[in-house]
C-alpha cells in the first residue's frame, strides 16, 4: 500500500490522540505539531513504525514568532521516508523564556550539527545534546542573532564613517 498523508495522519492520531494537532498540507507536504515534551516520542514512533519508516532527517531548524506569547520558537523537523518517498514536516513550539527541547542526536547522528546551528542562532537548548556549543558564530557572542529582535543594520544610516567604503 502506498503511503499517503491521510494514512500517516490516521496512524499518528491512533497513537497520540489529541496531542498531535494542526494537520495541514501546504504544497502537498503533511505538516503537524505536537507538544514539546513529546518531540522525541513522535520522532521515535515515526522512525520505528513498520509502515511509516521516517528514518531520514532532512533538515532541522527553528523559526521565531515574537508575537505568539508562550510559543515564540518553532522547531521544525523535515523527515523523509526514502522507501515510499514521502516527506513530512513536524513542528514543536516552545516559549522563548525556557527554550528546552529534547535532543534528537540519539536517533539521528545528523541532528548533532543541525541542533548546534539552531542553538547558535536561536538559543534553543537541546537537552541531552553531547556538545551543545556555537558552531558558525564566534564563541564569545552573547546573543542569538536570528531572533527577530535583532534587526539588520538600517541601510539608510549616514552616521557611520567608513574610510574604506566612504559611507
Amino acid at each position: 500500500m502506498a503511503l499517503n498523508n491521510d494514512y500517516i495522519k490516521q496512524r499518528l492520531t491512533e497513537k497520540f490522540g489529541e496531542q498531535v494537532q494542526h494537520f495541514e498540507e501546504p504544497y502537498g507536504m503533511l505538516t503537524f505539531e505536537a507538544p514539546k515534551e513529546l518531540n522525541l516520542k513522535v520522532l521515535q514512533f515515526l522512525f520505528d513504525d513498520e509502515t511509516l519508516q521516517f528514518r531520514f532527517l532532512t533538515d532541522l531548524q527553528a523559526v521565531h514568532y515574537p508575537d505568539e506569547k508562550g510559543r515564540e520558537l518553532a522547531i521544525v523537523y523535515h523527515l523523509h521516508n526514502m522507501v515510499d518517498n514521502v516527506r513530512l514536516r513536524f513542528k514543536v513550539f516552545t516559549s522563548i523564556g525556557q527554550p528546552d527541547i529534547f535532543s534528537a542526536t540519539a536517533l539521528y547522528a545528523a541532528a548533532n550539527w543541525m541542533e548546534r546551528e539552531t542553538y547558535d542562532f536561536f538559543g534553543v537548548n537541546f537537552i541531552g545534546h553531547p556538545n551543545l556549543k556555537r558552531i558558525l558564530n564566534v564563541d564569545e557572542m552573547d546573543y542569538f542573532p536570528m531572533r527577530k529582535e535583532y534587526p539588520l543594520e538600517d541601510q539608510t544610516r549616514i552616521d557611520k564613517d567608513d574610510e574604506m567604503f566612504g559611507r
Binding site: P26, Y27, M29, T31, R55, F56, L57, T58, D59, Q61, V63, H64, V76, H78, M82, N85, R87, R89, Y108, A109, A110, N112, W113, M114, E117, F121, R134, I135, L136, N137, V138, P145, M146, L152
Partner: protein
C-alpha cells in the same frame, strides 16, 4: 583511548610531559583543506585518534540577510553557497520562488535549465575528482580537465555574462535567449568532452597508486550514511540510490532517461567512481535536452521565459523606453509585488547532495524565514567517524573526496 600504543621502549627524560599523542592543527588555511575550515587532529604517530572540526570561518549570515531582501536579491546570495556549481543553486532558488508564486515554466525553459544545471554538475564533479587526484599526487588530470571547466564557464558567460558567481536566470526563465554561440559551445562540449573524460578516467580508475591510496579510505556503510544525513554522490557511493532528480523531479527531469550510479563501500574510491559515472549520465542528459531544445518549432523555438509579467523582469530595452515596463521593473526589483503567504520546502539535487530551500512567506516583501539545507554542512559531521584510526594522509583524501565547499558549509 585504549587503542593508543604504549611506547615501552621510549624513555622520556626526567620531568618531561608524558603525552604520547600529537595535536595537529589542519587548517584553517592549509593548502590541503581546499577551503577555510579547521580540523584539530589528535594523532598517535600517524594514526588519527580523534578529530574536531571547526567551521564558520566564512559565515556571512545569509539567512539573516535573506530576511530583508526581496526574492530577486536573494539569488546572488545563493551563488555564494556552493560556488563550484552556482547555477544549480540559482535555479533551485528560482524554482522555489516559482512554486511559491505558482508560475508555470514552458518546457523549453525547463530543458535549457537542465542543460545548464548538468553542465554545472559536471564542472563541480570535475573539480572534486581532479582535486582527489591532486591530493594523491597526480597533478596532470587536474590541469587537463581545467580546460573543459573553462569551456563550461564560457557557456555560462555566453548565457548570463558571468562565470563563477553566475546569478543566472530569473524567476520564470532566463534573462535572454541562448545565443547561437552558446549553442555552438554546448555542441563543442558534447563533441569533445567524452574523449577527455575517457582519458581522465584512464589516468585514474585503474591506476595502481591511486587505487592503493583511495580504496578503503574513509568508508561508510549505507546505514550510517543515512543516519548522518548523507545525500548526493556520497550517499550513492555507500549504495543508496537516492537522487532528488528521480524521487521528486523538478524542471522536467522526468522527461529524461538516465541511470543512478551507485557504489558499495562508500570509500573514497567509490565516491570517485560514482562522480565519474555521474558525469557520463549528465552528458547523456545534456545530449537529450539539447536535442529536445532543437526540436521546438515556430514561436515555441524562441521561448525563454514564462509568461508571468508580474514576476518576470521586463526586457531591458522596454525598461529604457516604456513607462509601464519601467514601473514593473522597479516594482519587482524593490519587492513591491504581491507574494502569497505560504510555507514550502523545495529540494534540488545539488552537485554534492540535496540542496533544500525552506521558505516561509508571510505575504511581506521579503521571506519571513529562509533556511538553506546545505548538504556538506550536514555530512561533514561524519568526518571524525570515518577517519578514526586512519592515517593522516587518508584524512586529506577523505576531506577532498567528500566535496566540502566552505562557502556552502558556513552559509
Amino acid at each position: 583511548m585504549s587503542d593508543v600504543i604504549q611506547h615501552k621502549n621510549i624513555r622520556l627524560p626526567e620531568g618531561s610531559i608524558e603525552k604520547q599523542t600529537t595535536t595537529l592543527n589542519l587548517g584553517p588555511t592549509h593548502p590541503a583543506t581546499h577551503g577555510v575550515f579547521q580540523n584539530i587532529l589528535e594523532l598517535d604517530g600517524e594514526r588519527i585518534i580523534s578529530a574536531e572540526q571547526t567551521v564558520g570561518y566564512i559565515h556571512r549570515a545569509f539567512e539573516k540577510l535573506a530576511e530583508r531582501r526581496p526574492l530577486y536579491q536573494i539569488t546572488p546570495l545563493t551563488d555564494r553557497l556552493n560556488y563550484c556549481s552556482a547555477p544549480i543553486n540559482n535555479m533551485g532558488w528560482h524554482l522555489t520562488c516559482e512554486k511559491l508564486l505558482g508560475v508555470q515554466t514552458p518546457k523549453r525553459v525547463d530543458y535549457l535549465r537542465v542543460i545548464i544545471m548538468e553542465l554545472a554538475r559536471i564542472s563541480d564533479h570535475l573539480i572534486c575528482n581532479s582535486i582527489v587526484g591532486v591530493d594523491t599526487g597526480a597533478y596532470t588530470g587536474f590541469l587537463y580537465v581545467m580546460q573543459y571547466r573553462e569551456l563550461i564557464y564560457e557557456i555560462y558567460e555566453e548565457v548570463c555574462g558571468s562565470r563563477l558567481t553566475t546569478n543566472i536566470g530569473r524567476v520564470g526563465g532566463f534573462e535572454r535567449d541562448f545565443t547561437a554561440t552558446a549553442f555552438e559551445k554546448i555542441e563543442k562540449f558534447l563533441k569533445e568532452y567524452p574523449a577527455v573524460l575517457k582519458e581522465f578516467e584512464n589516468l585514474f580508475s585503474r591506476n595502481r597508486i591511486f587505487m592503493e591510496r583511495t580504496i578503503g579510505a574513509g568508508p561508510i556503510s549505507a546505514e550510517r550514511a543515512l543516519n548522518y544525513g548523507f545525500t548526493g554522490p556520497n550517499l550513492r557511493a555507500a549504495g543508496v540510490d537516492y537522487d532528488v532528480r528521480i524521487h521528486s523531479p523538478y524542471s522536467s527531469y522526468e522527461d529524461f532517461e538516465f541511470d543512478i550510479p551507485v557504489g558499495s563501500t562508500g570509500d573514497c574510491y567509490d565516491r570517485f567512481l560514482v562522480r565519474n559515472q555521474e558525469m557520463w549520465q549528465s552528458l547523456r542528459i545534456i545530449e537529450q535536452a539539447y536535442r529536445k531544445v532543437q526540436e521546438f518549432k515556430g514561436a515555441e523555438a524562441s521561448v525563454y521565459h514564462a509568461d508571468a509579467p508580474e514576476y518576470y523582469l521586463p526586457e531591458k530595452k522596454d525598461v529604457y523606453t516604456k513607462m509601464e515596463a519601467l514601473i514593473w521593473h522597479f516594482k519587482i526589483v524593490m519587492g513591491e509585488i504581491d507574494i502569497p503567504k505560504g510555507e514550502l520546502y523545495f529540494p534540488v539535487e545539488g552537485a554534492n547532495g540535496e540542496l533544500g530551500f525552506y521558505l516561509i512567506s508571510d505575504g511581506g516583501r521579503t521571506p519571513y524565514r529562509l533556511h538553506f539545507r546545505r548538504p556538506c554542512f550536514i555530512y561533514y559531521q561524519a568526518f571524525e567517524e570515518i577517519t578514526k584510526g586512519a592515517m593522516l594522509s587518508d584524512a586529506i583524501i577523505v576531506m577532498s573526496s567528500l566535496n566540502l565547499i566552505a562557502g556552502e558549509m558556513d552559509a
